[in-house]
Symmetry: C2
């Protein structure tokens, strides 16, 4: 296994989520931009945590959630990220390795604590994320093992990696190694404000380095600074081999050359918390893609995986995803 072929290696900010219910009044009292991810420093993280209600902790990180989902679907996967040798770092490592995901970066023995994301889930099931990157802020190209990248059919990168200063070098190194090995590079645009922060870089990446692009409506419109989804869709066509655009309850659209697949959202009895929805969509899609199932079926698996994670609190599946997909596709 340790040297076998992998479906996906994910690179991301290793984060433990701290999830709590909150109302809109809390968000406005603390000036939190609803539905998006904002970066905060250690001081703000401490003061916001002090104001936060009772919480649960769950391993997270966008790419971490995606490789966790892939493992649950039966796809061999690996992860590259940076934690510290503290209790939260131990939790992150345990959770990802217990799914069979390879995660071999040793914990940092000095510097900031393991990163965490304070997530406020409002009654409408939206999540508002405040991230303290912690140890993840020092992720660099030295953390990327070229041999690991070369073993994976797809190297999956979260757009959030553009935030820490040296991670973009790690990102570009991984993309280069992957392409030299004849592999594919996938990118998630992560968050509309993240796109705003790095628009020129992201456009260049999408045009030159990315084979498979994931984005939601707000992110793809932010990328091309256009006011509607169809205009964004026309812009992105042809830039990447495959583009998967998610639209919440309106489902998703998958594009590849002249192929266009419109995929329904999977029904969910009660949407509790949308944390991880995009990450699990990517997991389901990349599972189908690497298994060679065709884009329509990959999109369907993506929708099923996303539907599981929004039915409960937390960013990773609570039930066996592979079984769920088999039932739903039967």
């Amino acid at each position: 296994m340790a040297d076998g072929l992998l479906d996906v290696v994910g690179i991301g900010n290793a984060i433990v989520d701290v999830l709590s219910h909150a109302d809109d009044g809390f968000l406005s009292r603390h000036s939190l931009a609803k539905g998006v991810m904002s970066l905060i420093d250690a001081r703000r993280a401490a003061s916001l945590y002090a104001a936060m209600g009772p919480a649960i902790e769950a391993s997270g990180g966008s790419a971490g959630n995606t490789v966790a989902g892939l493992a649950g679907l039966g796809s061999p996967a690996a992860y590259i990220g940076r934690v510290r040798d503290d209790q939260l770092g131990g939790i992150f490592r345990h959770d990802i390795q217990s799914l069979g995901v390879e995660f071999d970066n040793p914990p940092a023995t000095e510097g900031p604590a393991t990163g965490r994301c304070l997530i406020f889930v409002t009654p409408d099931a939206q999540r508002t994320m405040q991230t303290y990157l912690g140890a993840a802020i020092e992720l660099g190209p030295e953390d990327v093992d070229p041999a690991l990248i070369a073993r994976a059919q797809v190297t999956y990168l979260e757009g959030y990696l553009w935030d820490p200063p040296r991670a973009k070098a790690a990102f570009l190194k991984a993309a280069e190694v992957a392409h030299q090995a004849g592999r594919k590079v996938a990118l998630s645009l992560s968050d509309p404000f993240c796109v705003d922060r790095h628009r020129a870089d992201f456009r260049d990446l999408v045009a030159r380095h990315v084979d498979i692009l994931f984005a939601n409506e707000a992110e793809i419109m932010a990328l091309y600074e256009v006011p509607d989804f169809d205009a964004a869709l026309q812009q992105v066509r042809g830039h990447c081999e495959v583009v998967a655009l998610t639209r919440g309850e309106k489902g998703s659209v998958v594009l590849a050359g002249d192929e266009v697949h419109v995929i329904d959202a999977e029904p969910v009895p009660r949407v509790v918390d949308t944390t991880g929805a995009g990450d699990l969509y990517a997991a389901g899609f990349l599972h189908g893609y690497t298994q060679g199932y065709g884009l329509a079926r990959a999109g369907r698996i993506a929708s099923i995986a996303a539907s599981e994670v929004i039915g409960h609190l937390g960013p990773r599946p609570e039930t066996p995803l592979g079984e769920l997909v088999r039932q739903r596709l039967a």
Copy 2:
């Protein structure tokens, strides 16, 4: 508030729960006694955690869950327990204080890490608990502030406190202070195996020190070594002012002198995880009791509080309990 009257002060082992789904095969492969709490050392905790699937972390501890529930119901409450100055200790403190519960014991600066309980939730929603007491093992009478005990209408003690060597002295000190101040002492028997470990002590406690007793069927039968519930019920009558006996889906029975109230279990759409059910029953009951609602209504509130916590993963309420009770009793 800091010097006001409290409804309840809870004393317990301060524990962070680590919750994961597992099947019966896992339990038997690792020789875990289903449905009960077993104590494990640091080494066993590490090896079992390594074998455990992906988990979520949530503040727990039996009495901790009870005071959290009380705070959610609007009852002023305090907690006495022992954590270390580590990340899990910070999580425990945050979660209980964020509900408005007073928790003033400073964290230990040396000795074992904050305690944790590995909880395996099987598909039948039963929980099997493996507890590493950690910093809680050194809880002693010096941690009990007599002024705090005297402020509370009820001092609530978890039976699990009989496990760490010096906690029973803390327990007896608290009971004595409470009675001297004209307050009530409540005890939960916690677990049938805990009763087996400390039967003689528990019988003496119940006969001499406890005003309000909580137990489930297995625990009360273990206490008196009788084979059926009715025999146990006859034994316990008259030993305490109030006895609340829980019977899972069969509801509960509340006894006080000649009063007997048979209370239905509250219907639950889907039982996901029974962790915390007994603790939240006690919270609901003690809320009703300290508010002077009468035993039948207190039992009803207890059932409602227990029903919330078994509908999701984790030992503490996810939704506002006070509101839930108002809706259900309306």
